[in-house]
Amino acid sequence: MLLHILKKDLKRKHSMNIILLLFVIMAAAFLASSVSNLITIQGAVTSFLEMAETPDFITIALSEEEKSDIDTFLKDCAYVTEYEVIDCHTIMEDEIEIISCANDPGRHKYEKGNTVCIETVPEHLMKVFDQEGRLFTLKEGEIAIPKLQAELNNLQVGDILKLSCGDKQREFTIKLIVKDAVFGTQFMGFKRLFVSDQDYEWLYGDSMSVHTLLYGVNYEDKDAFMSEFNQENFQVVSSVDGGTIKMCYVFDMLIAGILLVVSICLILIAFLVLRFTIVFTLQEDYKEIGVMKAIGISDMGIKGIYLLKYFAIALFGSAVGLILSFPFEKLLLFKTMANLVVQDVESRAEINLLCAAAVIFVVILFCYSTTGKVKKFTAIEAIRNGGNGERFSKGSLLCLHKTRKMPPFVYLACNDVLSNMKQYLVLTVIFCMGTLLILIPLKAIHTLKDKNIIRSFNMQPASAFIDSGNMEKYIGEKDDTLLISDLNQVKDALKAKGVEAEVWLEKEYVVSCYGSDPERLCNYYTSQLIGKEEEDYDLIEGKLPVFPNEIMVTEKTAEELGVGIGDYVYYQYPDREEAFLVTGLYQSMMNMGNGFRVSQKAVFESQYLGGLFVIQVEPVDDMEEEELKELLHQLFPAYKISTGNEYISSMIGGVLDQMDALQMLLSGVVLSINVLITVLMMKTLITKERGEIAILKSIGFSDQAIKGWQSIRILIVLGAAIFFGTLLSEPLSQLSLGPIFGMMGAPSMKLITRPFEAYVVYPVIMLGVTGTAAYLCASSIKKVDLKEINTVE
């Protein structure tokens, strides 16, 4: 009897079992690969940074000589355990050129994208590795470049670059593409190229140009060291600590994290499917269960056969999932591996195994609790009610004769859903989760692709961005005269062509300052706009600084300094202190969310100028971005001109690519879930409703109308789920994306949704695919035979 039931079950409900199996496989594969990836990446980042001997603190300073007063300080500072200074040469636009590029033979201009320095291969701190994670040496005439720079310029090993300095110049063959733990990520605006000691000496040894000094420091006591360091108020271009560097790898973990969320959703869905199939099976086997009880088989024995079946499915599914998780994991890791040196990836197999085992365990546990229903089926009840397991039928809420023009089969569909809400709840929940899985990442992508995202990078939106490739030349100037004249030159050139435009840029100063606690000094960038009246930044609270002594602070920095609106921030100069009144809080993804902004009236000595952004151009009258770009290109052929979108994607392009890929993956997963669930639901419904289908056939409903009735129900449920999902996506994305943007420095990021894509394109695709699946699946109504149900057993 037991085996008989099992056999019947496997034969009759094979599609149900297969779908359940597929979910278990997906859940196990996703869970195993995402958990294992998360652990691998986490471990890899730590070990990579360790391997590279990433210092606790890095600061970059400019100096006339190979040494600066920072050396003296570091030598004497009691908290410093070890430090290293690397002498580099910051290259200007005209000091580097592509001689041969196999992928792009016409290319000669070297795109820097960031500040780019030449240095020798580091031996102690901040080490770099080849693609296999090994240390390397360079011979004369060889150069090594980091991956992102190679990608930016479409370069590969064997291509030739020419470096020049003053009247010296030399050609270099790219020997290898390196992995730079400290500066290799997107988020670092400083990139290093490496040449041999001899070449470096020959090229830059007796150069008169400014030295860029890269200090790596290991300390004992962070707070004590930072306080002393900031007290000194060195003129540095930029500083980062080890924690920030690690943060730069957050994005690599983010993808694994999102997949983890997906796999948890999948497990939930697998449970819902499991529950659904178990309840359905029990209802169908009502009679048998009653009979088995009547002949004295215990509840446990009856449960046993169901547990056995689901154990088999869970075991098999998890095993397949486990096997699949390895290649899947590799696939996902591949992108990350490009930035990291990942050691011993293989040894993580036990984690996958553990995850797969967890899936089996949870499935069985869940199964055990759901089959508890067996107890409720008594022998007498079974014999009395045998014929039908249907027990939750409710009266109709809609009345057919009150619907006006609705075709009857549409009415039937609506009425079914309304009178059997409970039955469709599982389906609604699953569809709703799917909608969320699509909408939430989509919101992240739309936010990142929005023109206004530029405001989160501490800049104002503009139609064109000009990178002269040599923004460094303004640093070291006595005042802004040269800068202003260059801005005016762009403005005038455009005007001569009949385009009235605003031209501006952002300057960044570095001065140490403190807030409520004079001991807690920091020296983040202070931004100041030049060339444009109107200021429009990502203000969160308060107002923009207007007067010379007013300042705006990012939320993160405000917290760190312990200041709020109305408090003062004190800038420390060797000879004096200057107080700024905090008028507002803003946010910026630049520098991991740290920074200040002063009004244009504030005066800074030019020696504190630490950097400049690109020149931004916004025409007064409406103008196509492409058209403007074209015009600027004609006017300044030597400069790199980008449109708003291009500039944004050059800053976060890699991130967007990964996000887009993820979105594709998620859409695929969600669509397949929807299709599988639909097939499952349709199959069970058709089995359950053979009677109804037969009646409709007999009274002359065409097959199309019956199929329509069956599939419209699914679409109604999906439509409702999309609606609820859309409603929920607003608070849930705030909840989930908020902290992620927060980590990147913009905790109050306003999420953007492109309504057409989110509320039209994706829902239509979902409805289309799911509807088609439902309709195709409904074809099995053809097999429904009236005779077999019109006989009383």
């Binding site: 109709s396 009345c399 057919l400 009274i699 009236l786």
Partner: protein, 253 residues
Amino acid sequence: MNQLAVKDLCKTYIVNKRPNNVLRNISLNIEEGEMAAIMGPSGSGKSTLLYTVSGMDSATAGKISFFGKEIEGLSAKEMSRIRLTQMGFIFQQMYLLKNLTIYDNIVLPAYQADGGRKNRERINERARELMRKLGIIEIAENDITEVSGGQLQRACICRSLINQPKMIFADEPTGALNQQNSKEVMKELNRINKEGTTIMLVTHDSKVAAKCDRVLYIEDGSIKGEMSLGKFEEEKLRERERKLSGWLLEMGW
């Protein structure tokens, strides 16, 4: 004119690769306005015959013409149109849609047939009139779980009549009913027949068959015999029943 003409009808099911000849060369005619009963042992192919001639099941061989029209070449869609507008079905179990009220169940085929949805008022009137005639107007808004088997079967009859079909097929319409309910249902069927609707019903009950004009006996998929009783008259019921039992005994019932 023959309402239904069947010639050399064969139906073979293939189960486990072995053919099962359920209907073998059945030929029969049912005249317009006739009320014919099909009797025979269980598994003899009565239901199959009913579903095959009504086009719900396909015939393996033979000719079926409904109102002079061959149903062979008709598409599934055309066939369902014919079922919708010209045929009515009544089953043994009271098959109504459980999520609909009695009333909605009854008007459903008519609404479906009413493509332009312009005649709903007329349909509603007709439904009410039918329900009044069959004495179930009080339960119109009830759920199907709230009423008795006899009432349900009468509701099914109402449904089968809503589109004013030319012919009604009934597969053991009294099979699941008690004596009293069974009598009521038959009374209605006789009345409908009198009003001009052709009826072909399958039954196990000789009392039911005795109320029909003609009885066909099927065994092993072939017609073994038939007996004409003439138009039904209430007064001659006893006599008809006796005559029929005698014949059935002969047939091996």
